[in-house]
């Protein structure tokens, strides 16, 4: 039982990161119907910005993290305005190609600047692990879980309890309707790209002290983000969070109780299984089209 609880705790901590990434992918997807295949590299970029600001500019970590999130927010606005808007009239596949290309440009840039080196990311707090019975609770688990939980509370509060949230929901439901009531949909799309990339950056900043920092950091998380989205249901904000947490726990349990070789492919197995058994995921809506 101790082992099961330990695996679950560790899985929830990892899952919190996956949840954040899945949620950031979903925010962009719900707003623009674009799946950002380069999102993993934006996650990596956020972490690298913190690294640069802490190591080279010598900013305190918290300021560096806030600055990096803001930089990524700006980058999201820029990506939407500079690279997505101009190809809006083209085929949808163009968005996928564009997002993949932008991701690889970022990854290539990081490789060019830092090579394939693996960097230790400065830690914010060095909290000693403590025990609850035989259960080991580490500072990383506490820190990540707390930050993600607070962030999700704020995010869902804004989404469901504020006027801004109501406007966002209105655009999600009908862009044409939102336009008619005076919402600037183009600016909305740009902001959602900004919010999506900023959230991705936050995930990168939280995980990099654990995973170490390197240019290929984001690739692993992208597929996990997709798996969490699939499990929770494409387009479902709450589903993305639940999907991420379940994926984190599933990876740990698969790795321990079945085979450690399966741990790395848990995300893929989940994608396949969900698409075959319940394509809408746990919280997705099945769309019925009358013809």
């Amino acid at each position: 039982m101790d082992i099961f609880l330990q695996l679950t705790l560790s899985g929830l901590s990892q899952g919190a990161i996956f949840a954040l990434i899945a949620l950031s992918l979903t925010v962009v997807y719900r707003a623009t119907t674009i799946v950002n295949f380069g999102h993993g590299d934006f996650v990596m970029a956020g972490a690298f910005f913190v690294y640069v600001l802490v190591i080279y500019v010598e900013l305190p970590y918290v300021f560096a993290a806030i600055s990096a999130v803001l930089i990524m927010l700006g980058m999201g606005l820029g990506v939407s305005r500079g690279f997505i808007d101009p190809i809006k009239a083209g085929p949808h596949i163009g968005f996928a190609m564009m997002s993949i290309s932008l991701g690889y440009v970022l990854r290539g840039g990081a490789r060019f600047l830092w090579g394939r080196e693996v960097f230790p990311m400065p830690r914010v707090f060095d909290i000693e692990p403590f025990f609850i019975g035989n259960l080991v609770v580490t500072g990383d688990v506490l820190f990540i879980s707390a930050i993600v939980a607070v962030f999700l509370l704020i995010f869902f509060f804004i989404f469901y309890r504020t006027t801004t949230g109501v406007i966002i929901q209105a655009v999600y439901q009908s862009e044409r309707g939102a336009t008619l009531i005076g919402v600037n949909v183009r600016a909305f799309h740009q902001s959602m790209w900004g919010v999506g990339l900023a959230m991705g950056a936050l995930a990168g900043i939280l995980i990099a002290p654990i995973s170490l920092l390197h240019p290929d950091l984001g690739a692993t998380f992208l597929i996990r983000g997709f798996a969490a989205m699939t499990l929770g249901g494409f387009g479902s904000l709450g589903g993305a969070v639940v999907g991420g947490l379940l994926l984190g726990v599933a990876e740990q349990l698969f790795g321990f109780y079945i085979n450690s070789s399966l741990q790395d492919i848990t995300a893929y197995l989940i994608i396949v299984a969900v698409l075959v058994i319940r394509p809408a995921g746990l919280f997705g809506r099945t769309v019925t089209v009358r013809v």
Partner: protein, 397 residues
């Protein structure tokens, strides 16, 4: 009859021209890249790109050649180096090799980091018979079986040598019998772990548990808890540096205090720097190519040579690796004497036996049938809190 004689005469002349031509061609081949004053050496390496940190080995090698030049060279000839960038990319490596062989017309090739590049370059270089000393890449297939022209040599430990050292070190711990593994599932990891397992089984050990930790995984909780349950005496860790750090961090977190033997893909100082926790790395042992710590007194001479010609260079675990095979090449060239040819150079390389370079933890021995010059490595670990080079468990090098 007259026309028959004339035909015979022309035939004989043609044959003579052909024979002379071939002789000249063979002589040309033997001395291509040589003048009375210079020996042209092609030095391929990843001077740019994402593996450019490996090019420190080529910088070290060229510094050694410059050092030899400053001492008067070899029989009046000085090394003339032709560095060529491979960027650790096979296609670029092939282009570099073709340029060195056909355009720069070097006497021999020396260098090469990146096994994939060396394997891609091999079909281009091997048929030419130009001597080629591999000074960094570890894939054993680059040099064994011996190529058709018997011209390629390995001047660093290849995968099997490293793997065997891992197995020998693990089994040198008194009472070590139950060995567990945590490994990537790729060829790179197998190149280390398979020879290690062979040695472990041959010396009475058993593999009690195998755990996979793939590249990019950021948590090793499941693996660590499994390993803890298996109660092994030693753990083989065939992991890249990032995953090594993740594993050691989680091992400490969950109280897994069992010695871990790592590959040459990591080193002690960097692992400690990345973990930032001496306690987490105190049971970690790692392959170490050199006779001393990178900045140890036995390495000072070599580091000084590098810094003399490259004052801004930062010395790392890669810097002096290729200098050892440089020492071997210089010895062979000296032994040939002033009448240097490629065949004589190859013959002298094959005569190198038990050459202690003072750099690598192995002696270099080559023969016409065995081109894996280095058969072992040292191991580095923390002893009483200090990084120490070891030959076996608890025994300093």
């Amino acid at each position: 009859m007259k026309s028959f004689l004339i035909k015979c005469m022309f035939g004989a002349m043609a044959l003579g021209v052909l024979l002379i031509g071939n002789t000249v061609k063979a002589e040309d081949w033997e001395t291509t890249g040589l003048t009375d004053k210079a020996i042209k050496v092609g030095v391929m390496g990843p001077f740019t790109g994402n593996a450019s940190s490996y090019s420190k080995t080529q910088i070290g090698l060229m510094a050694y050649f410059k050092h030899i030049n400053d001492q008067g060279g070899i029989h009046g000839r000085k090394f003339e180096m032709f560095p060529e960038d491979t960027a650790c990319a096979p296609a670029k490596g092939i282009a570099a090799a073709k340029k060195l062989v056909h355009q720069d017309k070097v006497f021999y090739l020396h260098g090469n980091s990146c096994s994939a590049v060396a394997m891609a370059v091999k079909p281009t270089v091997s048929p030419t018979g130009i001597p080629w000393i591999i000074a960094h890449a570890v894939n054993p297939k680059i040099t064994m079986p011996v190529n058709e022209k018997k011209s390629i040599y390995h001047g660093v430990p290849a995968g099997p040598a490293y793997g065997s050292t891992m197995g020998e070190f693990v089994m040198s711990k008194p009472g070590a019998k139950r060995i567990a593994m945590i490994t990537h599932t790729n060829d790179w990891a197998k190149a280390y772990c398979d020879p290690a397992i062979k040695v472990i089984k041959a010396t009475g050990g058993e593999i009690v548990l195998e755990q996979a930790l793939e590249r990019g995984q950021t948590d090793a909780t499941a693996q660590v808890l499994k390993l803890k349950g298996a109660k092994p005496d030693f753990i083989l860790g065939c992991l890249y540096e990032a995953e090594t750090v993740i594993f050691l961090r989680d091992a400490k977190k969950y109280g897994l205090r069992i010695p871990v033997m790592g590959t040459a893909g990591t080193d002690l100082e960097n692992t400690l720097e990345r973990l930032g926790d001496k306690d987490a790395v105190k049971d970690y042992y790692v392959l170490h190519a050199f006779v001393d710590k990178v900045d140890g007194p036995k390495m000072k001479k070599w580091n000084d040579i590098i810094l003399k010609y490259n004052p801004d260079e930062t010395i790392t675990g890669f810097s002096a690796v290729s200098m050892a095979s440089g020492v071997a090449a210089v010895k062979a060239l000296q032994n040939v004497g002033p009448d240097l040819t490629r065949s004589k150079f190859i013959a002298e390389l094959d005569k190198i036996k038990g050459l202690s370079t003072g750099i690598l933890a192995c002696d270099i021995t080559w023969s016409a049938t065995d081109r894996h010059g280095c058969k072992k490595s040292a191991v580095a670990g923390f002893v009483d809190g200090n990084p120490t080079v070891l030959s076996s468990w608890g025994k300093p090098w």
